[in-house]
Amino acid sequence: MAVSADDTTAVRPTPSAVTVPARPGGRWKSWCAVAVVVLITAITLSPQWGIDFSLVAIARNWQNGTDKILLLLVPDWGFFPRTVPALAETLQMAVIATAVAAAVSLPLSLATARLTNPNAITRGIARTVLNVVRSIPDLLYAAILVAMVGVGALPGIIALLLFNVGIIVKMVSESIEANDPGALEAGRAAGGTQLQINRSAALPDILPSFVNQTLYVLELNVRASSVLGLVGAGGLGLLIDAVRTFYRYDQLSLIIVEILIIVMALDVLSNAVRRRLV
């Protein structure tokens, strides 16, 4: 911890008696990092190389934006009945994808952790596949899957499923690695097969983190499935796309309010469950 002149003022001996130790070296490194960040930011902001960050456009169109935001502040409540089926579909997609993903992820996370799967080859294969699966955003999955299996909730569910498996497996297998290997070693010493060890020693250890991640993923899914419809994968997104093209900002704001309420309700619910769990 850096020691500065501030720390010495409270003691107030004769100033000459206190020698402040020299600041530790190596501070230039953090300044270099800051300089690099500023440089990259400057490049990305430049109109030539980056994204052309012009405040002029904002200043010019500000009026335009405030009009839209004023429209947003007054939701069109009459639109509610039409959003109900889409809302239900969003929730169905989220629940189904979460349930299937949880079922698939449990064995997979055991297969990707070193402690529960000592076989380097199968572990490597499982990890590589999951890394690839995780690197693709859910909307991209949805877009491809819509082309493959047609419009509707099905591509949305599969897209969410792939997205979820990536997250749950990564988090849970990390928590397996972080666990105390003692119980697993005891299982091995008692002559258990790897399957038995995983079942009776590893599983009880990871259940809290597994349930935790599943709840988190359910929340993510409600949020994600509300936009998957933008590419035709069912749910609220279809509606969002429709009201967007007609510039019905009052209806858009009703949809936003609905997503908000559901996500927050889920947040409260999952917090309650988490508190019970820990």
């Binding site: 839209k68 991209l140 082309a147 299996v149 909730a153 035709g232």
Partner: protein, 243 residues
């Protein structure tokens, strides 16, 4: 040797009710959802077909454009992250317990929660009207989205800091600013930096999707060409490779 008795399983009615409720919700969702499950059977064949279309003959002539768009995406994510950090950093301190009055704290926490509940694409749709279909819109949408998560992680990290150094700074007469600088910041730095990097990663991924509504255009290629069949899927594989 006496026979070993296995202790009886603990029965917890709360756990069983929870299981029943969860099971009922899941079964209800499966039962009520309007899905043509039959299409699932075609999926394996379709996957092979599409993988073949995408990777058998990538359209390499599109590579420079794909790289340029990918760069634009990353630039958008970077600017979004930096803006998000600049805004969320002071707000995180204001939202942490012990450094600001309760109304400010709860107001900010509510703001973070609201932002987190809204997907970035919807934020982009809203600010689209101000900045138009430019990468700037994407960057601003990502910045707002980042404020939600970075703010929350930030105040949680600040509240989780070991109180020892804070008390020491206070005991030696430090002002609030000095407490933040010498009591909180040194122990919270690693957390903050890892959150920023993680958020940048998230932003890179979401900036690729913002192209769906025409912002930044990194993936205008993929979903549009795929869903409307106007282009060859192979055009898109090169852009995924590069990202």
């Amino acid at each position: 040797m006496t026979a070993l008795t296995v202790p009886p399983r603990r029965r917890d009615w709360r756990r069983s009710t929870a299981m029943i409720v969860v099971g009922a919700v899941v079964i209800g969702a499966f039962w009520s959802v309007d899905v043509a499950w039959g299409r699932l059977g075609e999926l394996p064949a379709q996957i092979i077909r599409y993988l073949w279309l995408m990777f058998s003959d990538p359209d390499w002539s599109k590579l420079p454009e794909a790289l340029a768009q990918t760069w634009k995406s990353v630039a958008m994510a970077w600017v979004g992250t930096v803006l998000g950090i600049i805004v969320s950093f002071p707000l995180a301190f204001l939202a942490a317990r012990g450094f600001s009055p309760a109304p400010v704290r709860w107001g900010l926490r509510l703001l973070f929660a609201v932002i987190r509940a809204v997907p970035e694409i919807i934020i982009a749709i809203v600010i689209l009207s101000v900045t138009g279909l430019t990468p700037l819109t994407g960057a601003l949408a990502l910045a707002i989205g980042s404020v939600g998560t970075l703010g929350k992680w930030g105040y949680e990290a600040i509240e989780g800091v070991d109180p020892g150094p804070i008390e020491a700074t206070r005991a030696s007469g430090g002002t609030t600013a000095q407490i933040l600088r010498w009591g909180v910041w040194p122990s919270a730095t690693p957390d903050f930096i890892s959150f920023w990097l993680y958020r940048f990663e998230i932003n890179v991924r979401s900036s690729a999707v913002l192209g769906l509504i025409g912002v930044g255009e990194s993936v205008t290629c993929s979903p549009r060409t795929l869903s409307f069949g106007s282009g060859r899927p192979s055009e898109c594989s090169s852009s995924w490779w590069s990202s």
